[in-house]
Amino acid sequence: MFLYEKKLQYPVRIKTPNPKLASVIISQYGGPDGELGASLRYLSQRFSMPYPELKALLTDIGTEELGHLEMVGAIVHQLTRKLTDEQIKTAGFDTYFVDRTTGVYPTAASGFPYSAASMAVKGDVLADLTEDLAAEQKARVTYDNILRLSDDPDVNDVIRFLREREVVHFQRFGDGKRTRGSEKELLTKPGGRLTRPPGFVSVRPSATKTPYRAARSGSAPPCPHCSRPA
């Protein structure tokens, strides 16, 4: 279960409202590589993950992403406080304002509402972890782009923090994949409720008359790192 902590993970204190900037940062709230999708992806992938360290990693990173969702929401909220009549007409923010006023709504900056189609849960260790590695990179690039667009130091401090978390999470998903021996288990042991291997196994060259047959027969031991036939 989840219990709420009445504090943010990192301080958010934006002195200067800036609705135009809010209209791009909202993408990390509900956009294709945003924090909502990140937390749903990891917290959903947990259920079919067969190994304890990966269950833990998805739970812990998915939970942290919920905290990041709250931080991005806080940035958008603070950037759009006490707006003047002139400010709500700011190009870029006016189209958001007409639909949501200054409510914080999970949407991409381009206007598309949050869609679970932007993330995946495949129920396979290798496929899901590879998805997660890509997801962290895509979120990192979105934060790069926000830093390109923003000159507000109060905003940039928070965005830099969130961006660095993507780098660390990428590393952890990579480490997580490596904790299973040298992929021996990932590749050859049953995953979750499947009765067959979750990944794939190498296919030996056909035992018929291929020219490889003679060279391969009898001699080389299996690769010690992956137990695939040498």
Partner: protein
């Protein structure tokens, strides 16, 4: 080319690679993605530097080149607590994949104690952070402003 270590978990004292590098197996199955495994014994920031940089590990601190300067977070009582808890979050993720790193486990214990003390101090002064901690208040102080997303004139406590 790559360090020989195929068993980073056992090689904790060795640190065969630099602090910003990790180990790779000398051979590895084809068609599987690889990220270098972070070595045990990597350098660590203190808690306030960790919060400012977004990571506990200098070797993983890879900022965006156009705006790379770390934040300078004023260490208010709240930020102090956030920094202590951040170390627990960061070390927790690390230990998920490096459960045999006894040194990191010991650091986790130390920071858990510091965080518990810091939290008690903060809640005594500024009110409950969790609903259950409201039991220590005279009244239902859970409702008390500010909520975390509100802008605080004059700065956070």
């Amino acid at each position: 080319m790559y360090p020989k270590s195929d068993k980073p978990v056992e090689d904790m004292e060795a640190m065969p690679c630099g602090d910003a590098c990790g180990t790779m197996p000398s051979c590895a199955p084809l068609a599987v993605p690889y990220v270098p495994f972070q070595q045990m014994g990597a350098k660590k920031y203190d808690h306030s530097e960790a919060l400012e940089n977004g990571t506990l590990f200098p070797g993983l601190n890879l900022p965006f080149h156009l705006k790379a300067k770390a934040a300078n977070v004023p260490m208010t009582p709240l930020a102090e607590l956030q920094a202590l808890e951040f170390v627990l979050v960061e070390l927790g993720l690390y230990l998920d994949t490096h459960q045999d790193d006894a040194q990191a486990m010991e650091l986790y214990r130390q920071y858990a104690t510091l965080e518990k003390e810091g939290r008690a101090r903060y809640e005594a002064a500024y009110g409950p952070i969790t609903q259950s901690a409201t039991a220590q208040s005279k009244n239902w102080a859970w409702l008390k402003d500010p909520w975390p997303w509100n802008y605080q004139e004059g700065g956070d406590k």
